[in-house]
């Protein structure tokens, strides 16, 4: 009983000495504060407007994906990966498919790889739109967010055309896609390439040379490359500090080595640089999509999956008429595949950084162990230490620019 009382009384403001000027205030930001854009809590000690120290509490939407994954066959894990970074779920899906394909040594046809590149780059754009738009909102400029949000909606329409879903996409299968991109999908991708650049340009013009925006973001939460590396940062926020680490370049997957694009880097590692890096990455993604469309037009039509009948579900109409197809269908669904015992680490460049899948397989129907290296989780741990001494309003901007997605944070 006495312990409870001390606990409660310790929540009272702490008086350092008798001077009320020195009083520290405990402030709860979250778990459901609108400025955090996600479900996580920070308890900060405030001295006036400045943060003295902070403690991050996470795990509010932890769903035990790693445990669930130990009890699911490979193809049932794809919907789990959707829910990691739900702003760019196709990247997670593709990353997972590629991990399994690496384990099973499946060779993917070029056309399918380019299709995957298109989907992943669209997802990257959708994710960066959100992050940069929200950053604008947090600095007080709401309209930019609304302008680009329309384009995200259009990207979701393209997803819908490709796979039928919009947010938690579950795009593709192990070995390729479940169906070919239809005419409408290609038409929409081309339309997107035409309509997005002017919008992005307008968005850029609203922010990049905007004095209010620059003064609010420039020099805020600047991180040195050494600090960023020692905290294992990756993705746009690492590149904003000046390190050109991008998994698409260093460990190319899906034939990224054939594409001509640049890795934008910043110099100061502050919020402004992160904004600019993300902005430039969207332009580069557009370039990649253009090239991918061109490459697809040179490939034989109609190829949308690898020829691996033992891992890729046969077409449904054959299952009802063809005995071999029925056998394969049954074997795949029941998890009777012949799989090698091995371990794989496969990383893709997610929208927030290096998204890694560490898969240990013992030859059974389900993974023995699956670990997600989630960039948001690893990037976010520096938030509380780097916030001390910062203005509260700057800390909010910092949090937005880290682009912490609660689903990826908590897995």
């Amino acid at each position: 009983m006495s312990e409870t009382i001390t606990k409660i009384s310790s929540n009272k403001p702490i008086y350092v000495d008798d001077d009320p000027q020195d009083e520290l205030i405990t402030l709860n930001i979250g778990p459901t504060h609108p400025a955090t854009h996600g479900v996580f809590q920070n308890v900060v000690q405030m001295d006036g407007e400045r943060i003295v120290s902070g403690v991050s509490t996470i795990g509010y939407i932890h769903r035990a994906f790693e445990k669930i994954a130990e009890h699911r066959p490979f193809y049932q894990i794809t919907p789990l990966t959707d829910r990691l970074n739900y702003c760019s779920s196709p990247i997670n899906n593709m990353g997972w498919h590629m991990t399994v394909e690496k384990l099973l040594n499946i060779e993917i046809p070029k056309r399918v790889q380019y299709m995957r590149v298109i989907v992943m780059e669209l997802a990257r754009i959708a994710d960066h739109i959100i992050c940069n738009g929200i950053l604008g909102v947090d600095t007080g400029a709401f309209s930019g967010f609304l302008y680009v949000m329309q384009e995200r909606e259009f990207i979701y329409e393209i997803y819908e055309e490709i796979c039928g879903a919009r947010l938690t996409t579950n795009i593709g299968r192990i070995g390729g896609f479940e169906r070919d991109f239809n005419e409408v999908a290609f038409a929409k991708i081309e339309e997107f390439l035409k309509r997005f650049p002017p919008v992005l340009k307008e968005f850029e013009e609203m922010f990049t040379r905007n004095r209010i925006f620059i003064e609010r973001t420039s020099g805020v939460a600047a991180v040195t490359p050494e600090e960023a590396l020692s905290y294992s940062w990756s993705g746009p926020i690492l590149r904003a500090t000046g390190i050109d680490y991008d998994v698409r370049i260093v460990d190319p997957y899906c034939s990224y080595e054939e594409f001509d694009f640049e890795i934008p880097v910043g110099t100061n590692g502050d919020v402004y640089d992160r904004f600019m890096v993300r902005n430039e990455e969207m332009w580069q993604s557009l370039r990649i999509i253009e090239q991918a469309l061109e490459k697809i037009s040179k490939e034989p039509k109609g190829v949308f999956h690898a020829d691996v009948p033992e891992f890729y579900l046969p077409p449904k109409e054959q299952v009802y008429t063809n005995m071999e197809a029925l056998i394969f269908h049954f074997k795949i669904v029941m998890g009777e595949w012949d799989t090698p015992q091995s371990e794989v680490y496969h990383a893709v460049e997610g929208a927030n950084g290096e998204l890694g899948f560490y898969l240990i397989h013992d030859g059974g129907r389900t993974p023995y162990r699956l670990h997600f290296r989630r960039p948001s989780f690893i990037n976010y741990q520096m938030f509380a230490p780097m916030s001390s001494g910062m203005l509260l309003s700057d800390a909010i901007l910092n949090m937005s620019s880290l682009n912490v997605i609660a689903g990826e944070l908590d897995a």
């Binding site: 996470i58 795990g59 932890h62 035990a64 790693e66 445990k67 669930i68 130990e70 009890h71 690496k102 384990l103 600090e227 590396l229 020692s230 905290y231 294992s232 940062w233 390190i243 680490y245 260093v250 460990d251 029941m334 091995s342 371990e343 794989v344 680490y345 990383a347 290096e354 890694g356 560490y358 240990i360 023995y368 162990r369 670990h371 290296r373 989780f377 690893i378 976010y380 741990q381 520096m382 908590d410 897995a411």
Partner: protein
Amino acid sequence: MDKLNNQILLNHLVEKFGDQIQNIGEPHGLLTIETSKDSIIEVLQYLKQDAYLKMNFLTDITAVHYPNQPKAFAVVYHVHAMVYNVRLRIKVFIDGENPSIPTATTVYNGANWMERETYDFFGIQFEGHPDLRRILNMDELDVFPMRREYPLEDPNRIDKKDFYFGR
């Protein structure tokens, strides 16, 4: 100096640490070594601070539970030399009863939450960790849920037993 590759890296490690290092293999091109609990921090320090190897990036720390082995837990480190783009996987097998291992936060700041997560799910004590608390699960939880003995579903359920599928 040559560009670093798996063979050169392994030679360096064996030269420096001798029989403290066991080569497990190269699954899918990623060099995997095993070392002991006592030398893991020295190995990590050497990898990070050596002027040639420059393995400055800690990609990931996690653990695996093998309940049937005498050393029931494997702590797995992934480190990355960005300059040469060489990755290395280091495994440390530790005892199942009161598993403990020295903390890597002394080498990499980023190890902090990775180790907290590993502690949270496997109950591995990272000795010397500045703030070893649960991170994703609730504080009141008194088990370590990623250990193999904790079932995901109702353990009394029999409709998913292999027997019914002729296996």
